[in-house]
Every structure is written in structure tokens, then in C-alpha cells.
Symmetry: C2
Subunit: 394 residues, 2 copies
């Protein structure tokens, strides 16, 4: 497991100052603030944080009124307290340059998140390598919920991580479908990850945090707003290999996610529905454009799995075993050489919990070491060669 640095007590060294400055900036700048992103790129996070705190020198391209608003937020911000609070709540703060930072987010340019607050055992970076977003309407139909759950289960069975927004409707059905299949799922929230939203999904989001990942740009306790929901969608789009829209009316937020995915060069997919359904109208609009029609998980994987760098199992493990985190190495060693094994057996043999073993298995899957096999997991052919634990498969 890649142990995150303890953010509780920022010392004088650069990394921790940068971490403290970025924690401060997630409290002051709104997610997706492109001007703020440019400042950080041009001057560095610490300089931007210092200027916002001192207030003496307004940064370029900002109105007096906006500068005053940012200054008021800066005056109330207490990043050291936020990091301590997060640490207590089992939340870590990951920033660009950390080993857990997911490279695909850098495609967002100046709207790249300043940092990410994360709950859950797995490495977000590893999980992002083999992940697909399933998004759609909150007020979905039974058909939509059925499709979300079925596709999520099918993706989980193929070793893919299901990413969604934790909302009612399609999002919830997708997360639940992945969990029910003993699979991996990540919820990207538009609020503090310690403050599940919607309240009715508190139990679900806590379960995702236990078995998977809950991720967000907002610092502890912060609340969602309309604009934060919309900005959250770009993170979902950037984090994943592709976005599938399941049900969406015209002008739905899910279409924002899909268009963001398109702009980022990710695969964009849509699940068709009756032409008479207003909740499929937005999906059909998308499918009349560049999006690809999909009806099952195999079709999704066929598309996203075609991206070579995101389907490393075709090319064998991408990281030597010695460079794996100790937790992942232990789970890898727990896998039998020539047959698949079920999760409880792997956890027992690896001397860890099932939740932890699952997190590691998905990381090892992203790295090409293991693959799902019916209800269990097994070593890939390439892994057997690399690990010299089996005969050369020729």
C-alpha cells in the first residue's frame, strides 16, 4: 500500500509547504477556477496562497470585487486544521507530484484540481488506470436503474472500476451494481468527502469508502453547490478511460460530463432507450454526435480496453514486482499459481481484510498482474511468466 504522507503537521520542507498551500487553496478557490489554475502554474501554489493571505498585491486578471471575495475566504481558511481534521476522519489529501496523483487529471490543464481529498484504501492512481464512468439522471426510470446496475456489475466482473457521482438514480444504481458484484467503485463528490451528499446516500457512500474510494476537490465539511456539481463532472470525465451516459434528458448534467470526456479525448458512450422517453432524449442527442452506442459491459470494455496504456494486461505487468507497495506484494503472493481463487481465500492467505485485498487486486489488475475470473481472481499469463511461478505458456 502506498502510505500517504501524514498531512497533520506540515513542516518547513517544500513538499509539505506545497501541500499546506494547496489545502488552503481548495478552501479559497472554487473547483475548476481556470484563472486560479493559471496563477498556480505561473507562480506556484505557495506564492498564490501567500498573496491571497497578505492581500497586498492583487494577482493579475482579477477584479477588485472578486479579489475581495477571495481575500474574505482566505481570512477564514485554516489549512493546518483542515488537514488535521481530515487525518482524524481517515481522509488524505493528495496533490500533483504525489505517487497517488492520477496523471490523467493533468489533461485538465489550468482547471486541474488543486488537490484531491480521498477516503478509502486503494490507490486512486492505480484504480484510475482501469476505470469507466457511468453517469445519468437522478430521476431515472426503472429501465435506467436496471441498465446502470447491470453494466456496473459487468464492468466489475471484468476487473474495471466503476466511477460515478454518488447521486440518486443512475449514480446510485451504478455504485450498488459494482459493490453487489464484489467489484470496485469510486464516488467523486461535489462536497467534502467527510460529508456525504445526498444525506439519503450516507450509508452507501460510507460503504463505498470502506470497499472503494470517495474522492472530491472540496475540503472537509464543505457543501455542494450547482456550480460544484457541474465542475465535479470534469473530474469524473478526466479520471476515467471513458464515460457512459445511461439516461439523461436534454440539458442534463450528465451530458456535461460526456462532452468534457469528448474534449479530453476519452471514449464517450451512450445507452439507448425508447425514442419516446424524455429521459433518453439527451443520450440520443449524444449518440447522433460522436458518442458510441453501447448495450452491455462487453461493448464498453471492447472500446475502452482498446486504449493500449489503459489495458496493460495485454502487454504484461508494467511495474516490476519489487516496486509494488508491500500490501500489494503480499496479496500477489497470496494468489495460487495455477488456479483462480476467491476473495476470502486471498485475504486470508495475504493476512489482510477482504476490503484491503480487493483494493490491492484492482491495483494489481490495473498493472497487468491479475485478472478477474468468474467470481474469483487469477494471475495473468504474462504475470506467471514474469513471476516465474508457472511454466512458460509459449
Amino acid at each position: 500500500m502506498s502510505t500517504p504522507d501524514s498531512p497533520g503537521d506540515p513542516g518547513p520542507d517544500d513538499a509539505d509547504s506545497d501541500r499546506l498551500a494547496r489545502a488552503f487553496l481548495t478552501r479559497v478557490l472554487e473547483p475548476g477556477d481556470e484563472t486560479g489554475g493559471r496563477w498556480i502554474r505561473e507562480h506556484g501554489a505557495r506564492t498564490v496562497a501567500r498573496r491571497l493571505r497578505s492581500g497586498k498585491e492583487p494577482l493579475p486578471g482579477v477584479s477588485t470585487r472578486r479579489w475581495a471575495g477571495l481575500r474574505a475566504r482566505a481570512a477564514r481558511a485554516d489549512p493546518a486544521h483542515d488537514l488535521t481534521l481530515a487525518d482524524t476522519a481517515g481522509v488524505r489529501f493528495v496533490i500533483p507530484g504525489d505517487t497517488e496523483w492520477p496523471g490523467p487529471l493533468d489533461d485538465l490543464g489550468d482547471t486541474r484540481p488543486t488537490g484531491l481529498w480521498i477516503r478509502g484504501r486503494p490507490s486512486l492512481r492505480m484504480w484510475a488506470l482501469r476505470s469507466v464512468a457511468l453517469v445519468g439522471a437522478r430521476a431515472c426510470t426503472d429501465y435506467g436503474a436496471h441498465m446502470a446496475a447491470t453494466l456496473a456489475a459487468g464492468l466489475a466482473e471484468r476487473g474495471w472500476v466503476v466511477v460515478s457521482g454518488g447521486a440518486y438514480g443512475i449514480d446510485g444504481a451504478a455504485h450498488r451494481g459494482a459493490l453487489a458484484a464484489g467489484g470496485a467503485t469510486t464516488a467523486v463528490l461535489a462536497c467534502g468527502v467527510d460529508r456525504p451528499y445526498p444525506a439519503g446516500h450516507t450509508q452507501l457512500i460510507n460503504r463505498i469508502a470502506e470497499q472503494g474510494l470517495v474522492v472530491g476537490e472540496l475540503p472537509p465539511g464543505d457543501h455542494p453547490t450547482q456550480s460544484r456539481f457541474i465542475q465535479r463532472n470534469r473530474v469524473i470525465a478526466a479520471l476515467t478511460a471513458g464515460t457512459v451516459v445511461i439516461e439523461a434528458a436534454h440539458r442534463s448534467g450528465s451530458l456535461v460530463t460526456a462532452r468534457a470526456a469528448q474534449r479530453l479525448g476519452r471514449h464517450t458512450m451512450g445507452v439507448p432507450g425508447p425514442a419516446t422517453s424524455a429521459l433518453s432524449a439527451g443520450v440520443h442527442e449524444l449518440l447522433r454526435g460522436e458518442a458510441v452506442l453501447v448495450t452491455d459491459a462487453a461493448e464498453i470494455v471492447e472500446l475502452v480496453g482498446a486504449m493500449g496504456e489503459l489495458a496493460p494486461e495485454r502487454h504484461g505487468p508494467v511495474l516490476p514486482r519489487d516496486l509494488l507497495a508491500p500490501g500489494a506484494r503480499r496479496v500477489l503472493a497470496a494468489l495460487p499459481a495455477r488456479r483462480p481463487a476467491a476473495l476470502p481465500e486471498i485475504a486470508r492467505e495475504g493476512g489482510t481484510s477482504e476490503d484491503d485485498a480487493l483494493a490491492r487486486l484492482y491495483e494489481l489488475g490495473a498493472l497487468g498482474y491479475v485478472e478477474r475470473h468468474d467470481d474469483g481472481w487469477k494471475l495473468t499469463r504474462q504475470a506467471m511468466v514474469t513471476l516465474r511461478t508457472g511454466p512458460n505458456p509459449g
Copy 2:
């Protein structure tokens, strides 16, 4: 109206000999017979007919067994009788070179029909200019039937001719939808046009013959076969500006029509349905390829209307008024200069039946003179300029 030549009494002139030979060949060669088509192209229909009758010189590239089969059919054929029978039943026989022959069928190359047997008043050539095929499963769902009827009505309201195969399910719903909207529809049969198939659609097909067109390659009395159904689909595909598949299972005959349309460079469209419906699976397969997803008539017309030569209303009338058939000229003269008129008024003013007036209006529509307007018809702006019946619209 373009009066078809009387085929009853073939004289010694070339045109009638050719007509007689081709009538003979529709009795002897199966629809879509590519070898037969090549013989006709290379030697002419009369030579091929003579060789088949005499039997002395087998044509190239044909086995002894097949030649014997064709010879047996040839011995039983009586084209003069067929043409007389057809004439009595109100059926005309149209061949390449006739003014009513639809040019788009020539895109079929050596599988071009030898000739077409036609029931109904309108000119097939004119109607084909502004036509769309709606095809799909016989055992369709209520949803499929609803979509077929709705799309057909919407196309009819926009002055487009709905072409289908006269079968149960989607075909029937499409024909009925067009008729119910006071629109134009063409049934392309896989049997003699005097012998409606399926029997349960006798009334519907007779009504189509009254108000529209019933067309086929098979001579009077001939019956449908599996291969004839499949070959019929290429005629539907070639005749129209585009093919819309509404419901189709995997390996459905409607997909054959769609793929033929694709090969011929026609627009191919599909109506989505639930991903859980086996009757939408074939359509979704198509939509994952080159076909365009459509959910209403406006989207269909947006696509097929973009073909310049098939949407002459954008460029004004393509045929001078003096060259119009007398029936069409009379109906054109019956239209008021500055307002739309309903069908009964136009028929009354033009001194003809409503069925005949409708046939002429769709022909005039294909030529860019008139367009549908709510429940009635009006002159196009370009027609008003050309006819000098209104002020220059600038």
C-alpha cells in the same frame, strides 16, 4: 399524368419487343439474378429471351442443370398473356428507358430489376425522388408499431413518400401511418402485385394501390419465396433516399435492406429502443456501425433532405411547367396563388379525384412546385416566381 404505353398488344417495333422480352424474363429469371442481368446488359433482353426460348445455345457461365431449369420456365412463360392480364387488372409494366422508370434503380447494376409491375396512379419515378423506406420486424412490439406509425405520419406531413414492404408489423404500421396522415405510400412486394401478400393485408394493399403505389418485380400471380423477400429488400433500398430500421432482431431481413442501402450510398438510419429488447438488438448493431440514430421525422428529413438532387424544393422547380404531364398541370393550376388549400378543394378545382390529386401533388412536390403545409398544400416560393403567379418574394 404520364400515361404508360399499352402493353396489351406488342407490335413489331423495338420498344414493344423489348417490353415483351422483359415481361418474359420476369417470369423466367429470379429477382436479383446477377448472371441474368449481365446477359441482358451484354446481349440485350430480346436476344436473351430468344436464346432461352430456343434453348439451342446456352448462355455463358451457366451450368447444364440451371440452363434446363430456366428452359423449363421459359417453355411455360406467356408474356403476351401476362401483359394482357396485367392490363385488365390495372397493372402496368415499366422497363428501363420508360419515362416512369426510376433512375436510382440503375445503381443496382446487373441486379437491376428487369422490369417493374406497378399498380396505382402516381409516377413511380417522381415519387421515388422524395421517398424514405421504413422497415422492421414483422413481430414488432407496440413501441415499434407506434414509432413506425408516428414517423410515417411525420414524413407524410413533410411531403415525403413512405416506402415499405407491405408485411405485418412495422411495414403495415408505416403504410397505415402515412395513409392516416393523408400522405403517400408505396408497397414493394415480393410477389405479383395483383396477388397481395400476406393475405391478411389484402385490404391494406388494395388501399395502397388506390391511394399510392404497389410495385414488384414478379409477374401477375407469382408467389413470394424466402429468396424473393430478400431480393425485394434491395429494390426498397435502391428506390429510396434512405432506409430507417425501426425494430429488428439480430440477423433480421430489415438489416439486409439497411446494408443494401449502405452499399448503394443511401442514408441508413435506426430508431433506438431499450437495450434489453431483443427486437432492438439488430438496430443497435446497425447504430454501432455507420447508421445514424433518429428519433423523429424531422431528424430523418434533415438527413435525406440534405441530398441536393433529392430535395429540389431548395433550388426551385427542376422541370418547366410545359413539360409536366397534363394531369399534373391541371392540379398545379388548381392551387391558389397565395394560400394553402386542402386536398378536397384542390381535387374539385382540378376536376379530378382526391386520390389522383394526391398522386399529382406528391409528384409536384418531388419537382419542387408544391409543399405540404399543415393539413393542406401550397405553392413553393420558387414555384410562385417561376409561374409568375405571385409577387417576386425577393
